[in-house]
């Protein structure tokens, strides 16, 4: 006990240094998570809070829109993350050892959409695709095609959103991959060349395994980002047509702010938190594992 007290005293300055960060972490991250879990067990009105146990979760699993949102979110996560990783690997492995100016040009070209706000990007795509006054439907009509409405067709709305999100995010992955690939020791490539390995073999046997930590990082970050996909849905489709493009985050938003079902919205939040946790833990463990 005495030793503990002494250690505490000796390390006081250190604790004080980490205190601001710790306080912010507790107030702005831990407390909202705990409060979210608590709220998910209540039905909340302006005048009172009624404990309903797991009633909100039961309501959710009986709601076809929630199930549709979950399925859509899974489709988005799988498609966007896979597209981003594969395309970023392809571009990066093709250019990482080229002339520095060329690499910078490629990096810049893909990174420009990342710097533009998602709101702006969505509005630009909205301008292109809007069936009333959009450029693409207008051109299609001028060319005597039938009415084109990619956002109003349940079969095309998901691919459009996947493409828009992928196009906006892929620059980040390319930047990280190129940086990571430039850092791979040159002697490995030289040894492979001496052994007569083709470029494909070098990419698959040396490059991709060597940038594995970056891949894990990108997968985790992209999964978390895509799980929270919202702006593009809100601005392009509003979840439609007939909830065909609703995601968990959009469903949560609607319940919390439009329907005033704070308890149900909190339950969605808790479920999303658990999904993220489940997906992230094994990947984090693999990333931190020492070979």
């Amino acid at each position: 006990m005495k030793t503990n007290k002494h250690a505490l005293k000796a390390n006081m300055t250190g604790y004080l240094f980490i205190a601001p960060q710790l306080i912010l972490f507790l107030v702005f991250l831990v407390y909202p998570i705990i409060e979210g879990i608590r709220l998910s067990l209540f039905r909340i009105n302006y005048t009172n809070e009624i404990f309903v146990g797991l009633g909100n979760y039961k309501t959710l699993f009986e709601d076809p829109v929630f199930l549709k949102s979950t399925l859509n979110t899974v489709i988005f996560v799988v498609s966007i993350v896979a597209l981003t990783i594969v395309f970023a690997l392809f571009v990066s492995s093709a250019v990482f050892d080229k002339n520095a100016k060329y690499v910078s040009f490629i990096r810049g070209s893909y990174y420009i959409p990342v710097m533009v706000s998602m709101v702006v990007m969505s509005m630009v795509w909205g301008f292109l695709l809007n069936p009333a006054n959009g450029l693409i439907p207008y051109v299609a009509k001028q060319l005597d095609f039938s009415n084109v409405n990619f956002l109003g067709n349940p079969h095309t709305v998901l691919p459009v959103i996947i493409f828009v999100t992928f196009a906006t995010n892929v620059g980040q992955a390319i930047i990280l991959y190129i940086a990571s690939m430039i850092g791979v020791p040159k002697d490995l490539f030289e040894a492979a060349e001496v052994d007569g390995a083709s470029r494909t073999t070098i990419i698959f046997k040396i490059l991709i395994p060597m940038v594995k930590p970056t891949t894990y990082y990108l997968i985790i970050m992209n999964i978390i980002a895509v799980l929270k996909i919202f702006v593009v849905i809100q601005l392009l489709t509003g979840g439609g047509p007939n909830n065909s493009s609703t995601t968990l985050m959009y469903f949560l938003y609607n319940n919390a702010f439009k329907y005033n079902q704070l308890g149900v919205a909190s339950a969605v939040g808790v479920i999303m938190f658990l999904i993220t946790l489940l997906l992230s833990v094994p990947q984090l463990r693999a990333m931190l594992k020492k070979d």
Binding site: I23, T47, A132, N133, N149, G152, N243, F257, K258, N260
Partner: protein, 464 residues
């Protein structure tokens, strides 16, 4: 060492106290600096865009908040009890519920909200508004027709002070009608034309077939939208075209009857025949209004304020000029369908007695002041005295008055109306995209809608 630790501890303390000070509640009342006895009360007033200017959009610097800033200034000068400051904030209509729900859940509702009252009824049911019975006097009851008081009364209490109203109708481009050879269907400039449903179908087909493509390229006969809940009252009106009662006596949806399904089929048939703009499932009412103003639609939705704004935009050269006129939404029976949005102020229950009292006094002030109430001419005045004063300047006041016999109560005064709106447009989208048959969509709308009404009724402080 001790000095250093003391310094670090003191700095941390100051930091924590600053953070806490930032989180502290603001004082509702505090002594005024320049006054000996009067305390200052700061009110927040929110509104959605209604009309520009204090009295008229032609005023210099006219904006949506001009009227309330001027009213607050006038009120503050004559108010004896407190030194009142009013912060006026204009918010987008489609962001209203999001903003209010965040504010209510955070315990910081605005003091006053000025809006079309149909969109705010749920807040009365939720116990977030205070009754205004004590500021409604006999003179106001006499000057404002009973039907307006009925629309702002929930249970036994009045929750909104009626100011003006906005009747909803159709607007049409008479120039396009003439170009399509439809002169016989054009009404007078100050008339709200009534067509039968058969007439209406003839008009739509003629517009599609005979509208000159060189003059009106890419133009469509009628505006149709279902992207979200904005402008959904017109969709509700279309669903009544074949005579469905919509709500039963107990306040439940009964739209899944023969007439309701027939109306949904009519919408689908009209859409599929290319008599409306394409992509109705992903087009908003704003898009449709813009198309109409750009002469890409011959017939669109409108209300009195939108109609005046469209005319003002044309006069100011902001939009192409054309001959814009009004018509009723037709029905199979021949009797037209019309509705109105009553606009007025509500006072939120901020749990601060002083602010609630001052808010009520301010609402009463701008809703009864003989000069300020004249601003209601920007919509249609609810006060007979104001309507009479301005009827010579605006001949449409008489047309709207004549039309009032066809008004229907589109909310059914049911609890949960805001959420009920959220379950309609996905069903309309399903109809237009062919994901559901009109009958299936109406059945689902009724089932989902009645669940919303049932849950909201259980939580209503008024109906318990």
């Amino acid at each position: 060492m001790l000095k250093k630790r003391f310094l670090v501890t003191a700095l941390s303390g100051v930091l924590a106290l600053s953070a806490l000070a930032g989180c502290a509640n603001k004082e509702t009342t505090k002594p005024a600096d320049n006054s000996k006895d009067k305390k200052t009360v700061e009110l927040s007033l929110m509104l959605t865009p209604q009309w520009k200017g204090v009295m008229d959009p032609s005023e210099k610097g006219a904006d949506y908040d001009s009227f309330f800033k001027a009213a607050a200034d006038k009120f503050s000068k004559q108010y004896k009890d407190y030194d009142v400051k009013v912060k006026v904030e204009v918010i987008a209509s489609d962001q209203r519920d999001e903003l209010l729900n965040v504010k209510l859940n955070g315990g910081t509702p605005p003091d006053i909200f000025f809006e079309n009252t149909f969109a705010m009824g749920d807040y009365a049911h939720r116990g977030a508004l205070v009754p205004l019975n004590d500021i409604v006097d006999d003179a106001a009851k006499k000057d404002i027709d009973k039907k307006y008081w009925d629309s702002v009364t929930f249970g036994k209490d009045v929750y909104f002070y009626p100011f003006s109203h906005m009747p909803g109708t159709l607007a049409y481009n008479a120039d396009m009608f003439k170009a399509a050879g439809l002169d016989q269907y054009i009404g007078g400039e100050n008339e709200i034309k009534t067509w039968t449903l058969k007439d209406y179908e003839t008009i739509l087909n003629a517009l599609k077939k005979d509208l000159p493509k060189d003059k009106y390229s890419n133009a469509y006969p009628m505006g149709l939208f279902a992207l979200n809940n904005q402008g959904d009252t017109w969709n509700l009106a279309y669903l009544r075209m074949f005579g469905t009662k919509f709500f039963d006596k107990k306040g439940n949806l009964v739209v899944d009857d023969k007439n309701g399904v027939e109306a949904a089929k009519w919408l689908k048939k009209t859409y599929d025949a290319g008599l409306t703009n394409p992509g109705a499932e992903s087009v908003s009412s704003n898009d449709v209004n813009a198309m109409f103003q750009n002469q890409k639609l011959a017939i669109s939705f409108t209300n009195s304020v939108l109609f005046n704004s469209a005319k003002a935009d044309m006069a100011a050269g902001k939009a192409p000029k054309f001959d814009i006129r009004l018509a009723n939404i037709p029905s199979e029976s021949g009797d037209p369908l019309t509705f109105t949005y009553v606009s007025g102020a509500a006072v939120f229950n901020t749990k601060d007695k002083t602010r609630i009292k001052v808010s009520k006094d301010f609402v009463k002030f701008f809703s009864t002041d003989p000069e300020l109430v004249k601003a209601s001419k920007n919509g249609i005045p609810v006060r007979t005295s104001v309507a009479n004063e301005f009827k010579s300047q605006n001949p449409l006041f008489a047309a709207y008055d004549k039309n009032a016999q066809y008004l229907f109560n589109f909310t059914g005064s049911v609890p949960g109306y805001s959420q009920l709106r959220q379950v309609l447009y996905p069903e309309l989208q399903a109809i237009y995209t062919g994901q559901k048959t009109p009958a299936q969509a109406m059945e689902d709308y009724q089932t989902n809608g009645n669940k919303v009404i049932k849950d909201s009724r259980a939580n209503s402080v008024i109906e318990q």
